[in-house]
């Protein structure tokens, strides 16, 4: 842990720094690959829509003791009361059998419940039945998409106002879309069932992704504002330093956010089986991980790229470049040991208006105080009393 703290220190001071903004091509390629994979999953395999989107009836038999031949037992029980419904039977967790069928009428489903309870030798109350109209999923999806659009509009507005540039909103939204596309793609690739609960998951990912991006951007804002004031770093350098400084925070936060979610995933897989909890947790796990990645590696480089032609950024970068060149020139001049450095033609910035000379170095290479270089100070000359 001590080393982690040291890493934090080094990242803060800039002693150690990951060139995140500079290597943006690399990150773009990484996410392009991720996105392409997601699209392949989405278009190739397609999403596995749950019963809420297809419509039908679902029956769950819990606390089953004897699971031998559960498929046949269930199928037989269902066929008896409701023929032609093509039941699909799956085992969930240790002792729960899930039967999904086409749409059953009320009376039918009561009958099937009773039959299933008898077939598996459990009480009727252990059998749950649910009926889902096909429009249910649609309604939820439509609502969710509406909510999404409103949310994005509002958030872009708020962010644009807060950061005083729409480009931060734009970069944050791109990162957001990236996360959502990737999460949805993962669902398609892994064949995870899409239920209304996973819709909730997607929406939460939106929230988290934006949240994380804002925290990073707030640091970027701070750092770049400082750069604007002092003209010591270019915009890109300031942004990169900000990302590096906030890296420890990002890691800590994502670990802390992922720990409980990971626990749910584990508990869900091992004990509960498919359901609201597991769907949500899986979506969130992937989303949070990708969200953290995108706010650092996508949003920030993109922001720098978007802003690099802004007037104030161009001015800042120009200033910094001139300063760097000037310093280099001075260093050259000093190396040539030309004595006083006030002849520098580029010395027009306010900092040097006072005619501050460049630092000098003696032969040893170490910096020497100007006092020492110039030799003893000239004392006021006053004629001796005898000559006055």
């Amino acid at each position: 842990m001590a080393r982690f703290a040291t890493l934090g220190n080094d990242l803060y001071t800039g002693k150690r720094s990951f060139d995140i903004v500079g290597r943006r091509r690399l990150w773009y390629v990484v996410s392009a690959v991720l996105i392409v994979l997601s699209l392949v999953g989405l278009l190739g395999r397609g999403l596995n829509f749950g019963i809420e989107f297809r419509g039908g009836s679902e029956l769950r038999v819990s606390s089953v003791q004897d699971l031998g031949d559960y498929e046949d037992t269930a199928t037989a029980a269902v066929e008896q009361a409701a023929p032609d419904t093509e039941p699909t039977v799956t085992l969930i967790g240790d002792d729960t059998v899930r039967v999904q069928t086409g749409q059953l009428r009320n009376a039918q489903s009561e009958q099937v419940r009773a039959d299933l309870a008898e077939a598996f030798d459990v009480g009727t109350e252990e059998v749950t039945s649910s009926f889902v109209g096909p429009s249910w999923g649609d309604t939820v999806t439509t609502k969710a998409i509406q909510a999404l659009v409103v949310f994005l509009l509002l958030v872009s507005l708020v962010l644009a106002l807060y950061f005083r540039t729409w480009k931060m909103s734009a970069a944050a939204l791109v990162a957001l879309l990236h996360d959502v596309v990737f999460t949805v793609g993962t669902y398609a690739l892994l064949g995870i069932e899409v239920s209304p609960a996973s819709m909730i998951g997607f929406l939460t990912i939106l929230g988290y992704s934006i949240y994380d991006t804002i925290v990073v951007f707030d640091k970027v804002r701070e750092s770049t504002e400082q750069a604007m004031d002092t003209s010591r770093m270019t915009y890109a350098e300031a942004a990169n330093l900000a990302v590096n400084q906030t890296l420890v925070r990002s890691i800590n936060t994502s670990v802390v956010a992922l720990l409980p979610v990971a626990t749910i995933v584990v508990v869900g897989v091992v004990f509960i089986g498919p359901g609201t909890l597991l769907d949500l947790a899986v979506a969130l796990f992937i989303g949070i991980a990708v969200g953290t990645f995108s706010s650092i590696f996508i949003a920030t480089p993109l922001l720098v790229q978007l802003r690099q032609h802004d007037d104030e950024v161009v001015t800042l970068d120009g200033k910094v470049n001139r300063r760097v060149q000037r310093d280099a020139a001075k260093a050259d001049a000093v190396a040539g040991n030309t004595g006083l450095g006030e002849g520098d033609p580029a010395a027009s910035s306010p900092g040097s208006a006072s005619g501050r000379p460049a630092p000098r170095e003696a032969v040893t290479g170490r910096e020497v105080h100007p006092w020492a270089q110039r030799g003893p100070r000239n004392q006021p000359k006053r004629p001796p009393r005898s000559r006055r």
Binding site: R60, A144, I272
Partner: protein, 604 residues
Amino acid sequence: MALKPRNRKPARTLGALVALIVLLFGGLVAATQWADPRAQLTPLLGLDLAGGRQIVIEPVVSGSSEASEEQVQQAIDIIRRRIDGSGTAEAEVSRLGGDNIAVAIPGNPSAAQLEALSRSSQLQFRPVLVAQPVGADAEQPTEQPVLPLPDSFQPEPSVEGQEGSPDAPTTEEGPDDAETSNGPFPEGLRAQDDADRTEDVPGLPEDGVAPEPSDASDLAQITPELEEEFLALNCAENTEGERVAAAAEDEPVVACATDASEKYILGPVELTGAAVQDATAGLEQGQGGSTTGRVQVALDLDSQGGDKFAEITARLFQYPQGQAQNRFAIVLDGSAITAPGINEPISGGQASITGDFTMETAEILANQIKFGALPISFDTLTSEQISPTLGGEQLRMGIIAGVVGLMLVFGYSLAQYRALGLVTIGSLAVAAVLAYLAVSLLGWAANFRLTMAGVTGLIVAIGITADSFIVYFERIRDEVRAGRPLRYAVDTGWARARRTILISDAVNLIAAGVLFWLSESSVKAFAFTLGLITVIDLIVIFMFTHPVVSMLANTRFFGEGHRWSGMDPERLGAKRSTYLGRGRVNLPPVKTKPSRAEIEGGVV
């Protein structure tokens, strides 16, 4: 112990937090002791955790693609009445976003009950055959429904033509006699049998149910079974609406008034709400166009309905005013919302109902008529039976997952932040207490039920809440690294962290708000929990974490950066030599001022 001056403000804030918690807890305890209905100390559980049936119904208004706002409201009222009528305790009817209605019924309702819920509903006009006041109102029929006897003098619900006959007297004695014919039903029935004058009314629809009734008002329709049913009918229990609404349109039925003040035997349906074009509440216009000050409900029928209505009123008018058969009932979903007498035959399709209305009750009646006019049928979108064992199991697992997750978070923050991690643990504990109290109180106040989605929201919230502390601590560390003593690092770090926390929580609140207003069922519950947690997060960081950290910064252990405090300047790289900066490259943000060497060089 006297507080150090710099500890006073944080101490005050902490005091406020304690007061808030005590207040919430006190409120909860008070609510469990004295409130009606009683609150419980634990959060209310949603159906998916407690077990029961959850149905989502969509009202479909025939003829229009989208149900209007008022129609949905009406539909919800109807469903609510049906649920109440079925006597299911604790059933819950709520509106989902948009038009959908969620019905949550604990336990295991029968298939027939469910079927009855989603029956379609329409406004019906039925002639009254027999009316009898019931309950406490029986002695003093002050309410609108008029008893059919000629002595008393209650100006009560009466229907008059508006355009059809403008000269018609606007006040009718809604003669009423509670005293004389107030007797038990059989007497009334006999009396009316004698007064049977229906023969002379020609051309009215035959219903063929009862032994050759000559028209819809014919008392011959009343079979002994119906009579028995009527006698047994107890309106106070309001259990009949369902059956009445389900009754065939062309058969006589027994029904109660919506306010349970009267019970009726009603003839077959003669007109449905489809004929109603509009119904408005307003002041009655007198002859000269001046208002009489009485509130009326004006009814506007379409031409076919108007003709039919003219026939009906002509027939009913032949019965003496005040007699039950002079009246017709407007029935909505099995109960009579009003049953005015007829003051005159109404042709032209414009009728007005006057009576003891206040503007408010008239509005309600007008709306009931207007929006109940179109038949509303109900599509079942989902119907889900959840067994409590499954739900309980999920809740248990969810809680286990939450606790384990919380432990991991504790461990991690202790490892990362040493003693400061304890503050994280304390903050999360405070957040947990607040969340528990809030959810329990909301369960009582707003019937908020904790569902699986809500539990998940709470667990996910652990991470988001903890993030605020991480942002805060990292900012403090940044300041310490920049060389500030901890005491000042806390202040400046807080100023920066506060901005970040506020904006990110604001976005979370927006997300929760948008999801809450615009989405459905489980998404809504999730959004609510997320919003709740965000608010709690803000309360905790502002009222607990920051004050505690500021106070701790004044202790020796933290203030001097003990190596286990998590704020050890040495460990954080803020060594004095580094700070003063031998290498310019390493500390750009700190070296904002030109170095001494540079200044001197310039001056000298």
